[in-house]
């Protein structure tokens, strides 16, 4: 057997498996943002929602002893954050950039604050058992594809399965039609008896629940602990990926995987001990975000009513 080739295959497999794992939080958050934005609400507070979801699920697991109940608690907190965002953007009709920023700051501070209340200041941070890899029978034994795709944790499967599900819902169902109508032409949707506000509330809350799941993945599936600002900008990267994916779930998945790949590659280069300062490598995903945004800028055209509050009788 050619060792060199073996090394290369093992390397590629572990790199891609890492890419899938590291992109899971971004896939979840970006899919949530797609739904929110398709209904016309730009939620720039995703990062804050992710952090709250991360804390909520972590705390939930330490209290209940079950990662699944932890996820439920994280999702509930995410729904609550979504409710706040929807209240400001849909009911109060305030500037979505500023309310999103407020939500981000609130989630960032609140998650750290609650963490300190729950656990005090400790020398060794508490950790959890968390979600472990779920080896799918038969499929996980497949060469190459098995370790990459079928030895992931449950949230990774959910994230990937959500892509076709949400594509189908958006493109083929009445609900999807309503969401698109509300995001493109709320006046027309309103005339046809669609409750613009109800659809937007639903989408923002659903999007936030997904973002919270994304945060939960970082906390209880990946790192198995909670830290201040632990999502380090992934929420904003998710918003950028929505532009890259042109507001479509499938392309969003591709974008998120590219980022997961960049994270994984960066970790791998660090592990090889290459003489590049690790801070430079850590910059990769952020540079990539700006480059990708700049690249797709010309073609990106979002839902027509994105960031525009709906008032009956105007427009």
């Amino acid at each position: 057997m050619d060792w060199n080739q073996f090394f290369q295959e093992a390397f590629i497999v572990s790199l891609l498996a890492g890419a899938v794992r590291l992109s899971t939080p971004i896939i979840l958050a970006a899919l949530g943002e797609v739904i929110s934005e398709r209904s016309g609400v730009l939620n720039l507070g995703v990062e804050g929602v992710m952090l709250m979801g991360a804390f909520g699920s972590f705390w939930g697991e330490t209290v209940t002893g079950s990662p699944w109940l932890g996820l439920v608690i994280g999702m509930l907190i995410g729904a609550l954050m979504g409710l706040i965002m929807a209240f400001f953007s849909v009911t109060l009709k305030v500037d979505q950039v500023i309310s999103g920023m407020g939500l981000y700051l609130f989630g960032m501070g609140m998650s750290s604050f609650l963490y300190r209340i729950a656990y005090g200041v400790r020398t060794t941070p508490p950790s959890v058992e968390g979600l472990s890899g779920l080896h799918l029978p038969v499929l996980s034994d497949l060469p190459v594809v098995g370790p990459i795709l079928f030895q992931q944790d449950a949230l990774a499967y959910i994230a990937i399965l959500l892509v076709p599900v949400l594509s189908f819902v958006l493109a083929r169902t009445t609900l999807g039609l309503k969401i698109r109508a509300v995001g493109e032409n709320p006046q027309a949707a309103d005339t046809l008896g669609v409750s613009v506000n109800a659809v937007r509330y639903l989408c923002v809350i659903f999007g936030s629940v997904l973002a919270a799941l994304g945060g939960a993945h970082v906390a209880i599936a990946h790192l198995k602990l909670f830290g201040d600002n632990m999502t380090v900008g992934r929420g904003f990267i998710a918003v950028a990926i929505v532009y890259f994916g042109k507001w479509r779930p499938a392309m969003t998945l591709v974008g998120a995987l590219v980022f997961g790949g960049a994270y994984a590659l960066q970790l791998w280069i660090q592990a090889t001990g290459a003489p590049i300062p690790h801070q430079i490598l850590l910059m990769l995903p952020y540079i990539l975000t700006i480059l990708i945004l700049a690249l797709v800028a010309r073609q990106a055209r979002g839902p027509a009513a994105l960031t525009k509050p709906f008032r009956r009788g105007e427009g």
């Binding site: 400001f88 305030v94 952020y286």
Partner: protein, 354 residues
Amino acid sequence: MRFLGLRVEKRQTIPPLLRALAPVLTAALALAASGLLIRLAGGDPIESLRMIAVGAFGNVQNLGETLVKASALIIVGLGMIVAFRSQVANIGGEGQLILGAIAGTWVGLRFADLSPLLLFPLVVVAAFAAGGAWGAIAGWLKARLQLNEVIVTIMLNYLAIYTLNWLVRGPMRAPGLAGGFPQSEAIEQALWWPRLAGTRLHIGVILAVFLCLAVSFILYKTPWGYRMRAVGANPEAARFGGINVGRTLVLAMVLSGGLAGIAGAGEIFGLHHRLLDGISSGYGYTGIVVALLAKLNPFATILTSVFFAGLAVGMEAMQRSLGTPFALIASIQGLVVLLMLLSDVLVGYRLRRV
């Protein structure tokens, strides 16, 4: 909408007094929320708020601490006013401040034998240029490619944080301190910004007041300021009026980032005297909050900055009893932004008896 024999109705016009009252109401609500959160953390809210007040304004030294923080916040906040007035949401103050601190330190170390009087303007200009350049990237990308400035500035924040992190461990690390803290060499003592005896209050506070006058002059008395306000009010109308919207956006971001950069130099020359990690401690975000709470008015920013600086310093003083100040202050900031938006809507309505 009606309840309890009252009806909510929209006001035709909003009295200016009421409009001015909204931020005060928000600040009061923020204090109440702090009390609630302190309660949640197991503290006594009334006693804690008293401790915060004493910790922030109780004696000359504490007051000095508060004013030092306030002057950095004022300078960053002024930058935010310029950006938000032009309808650019600059969330990148953190990164711009860091770039200013790096450039300032570099100039201070490189030209250490220059007279302090000559070095001071040089440092301020270098810090302004570095912060402004960092801001200009986001401004240019927004003007040219319509990239969302919120995302770009956040990405630039992380790039700045990692750059600083690398510099103080690599190229700029003090050689004598190998194995010690990751930090640069100290600036010559002769070059430190002078302080008021007995406190850490340095001349940055004078600089802050001067910049406050300068920014209001630029905004209200110069063609650039007029263009920025016009673009902020209505970019389409501004374009039809013959204003180069793109150039105005870039200019706003240069000014905005440059001001944050000056605040960064102040942190180095007034406080730490060397470059180190975590130089910013959230000024970029707090700067936005003070600017918004001040309704984007340069002079009101002085008040809101002192309020938030006092809150931060007072909470630090309270740290021993609770151990939660930074997380607490960040939550309060988020709440203030949201409450501000809420109170802006609420003042547009009134209650009437049916």
